[in-house]
């Protein structure tokens, strides 16, 4: 994970040479040539922590069995997530749709996509630019809570947010 994060930051460095971000940016001045290598490493580590904290601020969204309907608590969570996205306009997110184990592997891949799509549609309809959003399904492949029973299943029927940016879709961290 650490290596991936460093690569992600390196990618941002490359971007910044072409198009500097506004000074309020989380990733402001990443390629500052006046910094020593050690200072840059320390600064990068701090940025990494910032990203980790930012990721933690995204709320998960939960679903009923076989459903992709956003209930009121889901919409409340998404309102908060939309506020984060509006505060940090350079952030792109991948919305990951997940299912519990009570479907076939292949049906659950389709169901997870429907859940991720419901979330990205809602965000797009609430002011988040569609180009900042990607929907990916992981079906039942990445349960949050192992084991059988409604306690686990209800945790696993969910959508999560992962921060990405750029065409490479480089991993920066997954919301938990």
């Amino acid at each position: 994970m650490r290596l991936v994060l460093v690569l992600a930051l390196a990618f941002v460095v490359a971007c910044h040479k072409k198009a500097p971000e506004p000074s309020t940016s989380l990733f402001d001045a990443l390629s500052d040539p006046t910094l020593s290598a050690a200072d840059q490493a320390a600064r990068d580590a701090a940025r990494q922590e910032d990203v980790s904290r930012l990721v933690e601020n995204f709320k998960r969204v939960y679903f009923a069995t076989d459903s992709a309907i956003l209930d009121s608590s889901s919409r409340t969570a998404l309102t908060e997530n939309a506020a984060i996205l509006s505060k940090w306009p350079e952030i792109k997110v991948e919305v990951q749709g997940h299912a519990d184990e009570r479907g076939t592997t292949e049906y659950n891949l389709a169901l997870g996509q429907r859940r991720a799509g419901a979330v990205t549609s809602w965000l797009a309809g609430n002011g988040v630019g569609g180009s900042r959003l990607a929907a990916v399904s992981y079906g039942e492949e990445m349960p949050l809570t192992p084991g059988s029973g409604e306690t686990s299943w209800s945790q696993n029927r969910r959508a999560e947010f992962r921060i990405t940016w750029g065409a490479s879709g480089t991993l920066a961290g997954t919301a938990y």
Binding site: T105, E106, L109, Q113, E141
Partner: protein, 418 residues
């Protein structure tokens, strides 16, 4: 319907389809005691048990002091004592045996198949194979025994493709039907799912996240070359080859998942097979490419539908329960195996092509999923969690006889190689 063995017919032995597992057979170990001989004997023994025709007599109960295998060199009494009807005697010729292959690269086994009741010799035949795979010689011997007794070919030398998470990631493997000789097909550290074989056995299609999305790839199993065939934004899942070498996949279109026919080589879209009704997934193309079975929620919960490839009409063929999926059409197109969701988990069912005459293969034994037919339609392999871990199991098509194929856990989504 019934297969008689001419040599046995006069003795009123009738062998029906596999599943009764009631013909008493003795399979004493060969005299040779090297590890290869033990592997060979283990393969013969397990295959005959797997076949569902025989009741295997415990070798420890057979008290034959003779090591003779040829007629007249041993007594029938130890076999009559344990009520053996059929006796499978074998002689193992280890690597380097001059009467087999002095170079040591090949090994041999002599099979003597006897009908104990009359003392008739039904088969005496020599089998030769690679010294590195003594089990393969055992599979050939066991297949000959089944053929001689039942008139049917046995699938003991067949292979499966399946998913295992043994490395911590789901990867695709090929393995022998008895769970041995596991060979990786993918090793990308990502998530790999839903292997499907072309009908010439040369191409394997599957779903992988190696590009960060659920895309469909095809690997040429001889050259090892991999090509990306379906990668629309969203899901590209559940590939199944037509007899003609094209692919049916389920993939995202707008807000739903529909079935598409793709050129098997290029991935170019030939036609869209389904429209509307939400999720259509898990296609299985029937014999002659005449129809495709799939799971659809167009009537509410997931149910099985059959689409006529000529007219495009689709009819529902599952009616019991609120969640049926993963259809697999039998090789001659007379039955559909599928998965049904119940309170206690998932079970395997088999129906006729109209969805009637249901046979239940599993009940109350954990989750049972992803049925795949043997090429002769006599057997099914599926995954089951009945031991607490997900393993591959084989069942006769009537469900009466089931054996565990893999050990180690984490096995799912088997596909029988043609």
């Amino acid at each position: 319907m019934f297969a008689f063995l001419a040599a046995l017919a006069h003795a009123q032995i009738v062998i029906d389809v596999p599943g009764r597992a009631d013909l008493p057979v003795a399979v004493p170990a060969p005299a040779a005691s090297d590890p290869a001989a033990a592997e060979f004997h283990d393969a013969v023994f397990r295959d005959l048990h797997m076949s569902g025709y025989f009741s295997l007599i415990d070798p420890a109960a057979i008290l034959d002091p003779s090591t003779g295998v040829e007629p007249g060199t041993f007594s029938w009494d130890p076999y009559k004592l344990v009520n053996a009807t059929v006796l499978v005697k074998t002689r193992w010729l280890p690597a380097g045996d001059p009467t087999c292959d002095a170079s040591g690269k090949r090994v041999c086994a002599d099979l003597f198949l006897y009908y104990v009741v009359t003392g008739e010799t039904l088969v005496r035949e020599r089998y030769k194979g690679d010294a590195r795979d003594p089990r393969a010689v055992g599979h050939a011997v066991a297949a000959k025994v089944v053929k001689a007794i039942t008139g049917r070919d046995a699938p003991f030398l067949d292979r499966l493709a399946a998913v295992s998470n043994a490395t911590g990631n789901k990867e695709i493997y090929l393995l022998d039907l008895d769970g041995r000789n596991v060979v990786p097909v993918t090793r990308n550290g990502s998530i790999n799912l839903s292997p499907g074989l072309s009908h010439d056995g040369r191409q394997l299609a599957w779903t992988s996240y190696r590009r960060g999305n659920a895309d469909v790839f095809v690997k040429d199993l001889s050259s090892g070359r991999v090509r990306l065939v379906s990668s629309v934004p969203g899901v590209n899942v559940s590939p199944d080859f037509t007899r003609g070498g094209d692919l049916v996949v389920a993939r995202t279109v707008d807000t739903e998942v529909d079935l598409f026919l793709l050129d098997g080589r290029t991935g170019a879209e030939s036609s869209r097979l389904t429209t509307g009704g939400g999720i259509d997934v898990s296609p299985d193309v029937g014999p002659g490419d005449a129809m495709v079975a799939f799971a659809s929620e167009r009537s509410g919960g997931s149910q099985i539908y059959l689409r006529d490839m000529r007219t495009g009409d689709a009819r529902r063929v599952s009616f019991a329960g609120d969640y049926n999926s993963d259809p697999a059409i039998s090789p001659i197109g007379d039955r559909i195996a599928f998965v049904t969701r119940e309170a206690g988990g998932f079970d395997i069912m088999v129906s006729d092509m109209a969805g009637r005459n249901l046979t239940r293969l599993t009940q109350g034994q954990g989750d049972n999923e992803d049925p795949t037919w043997s090429p002769d339609g006599q057997y099914l392999v599926f995954s089951s969690t009945r031991t607490g871990r997900s393993e591959l199991w084989l069942s006769t098509a009537d469900g009466n006889h089931q054996v565990q194929l893999t050990k180690g856990g984490g096995w799912t989504q088997p596909a029988w190689l043609p």
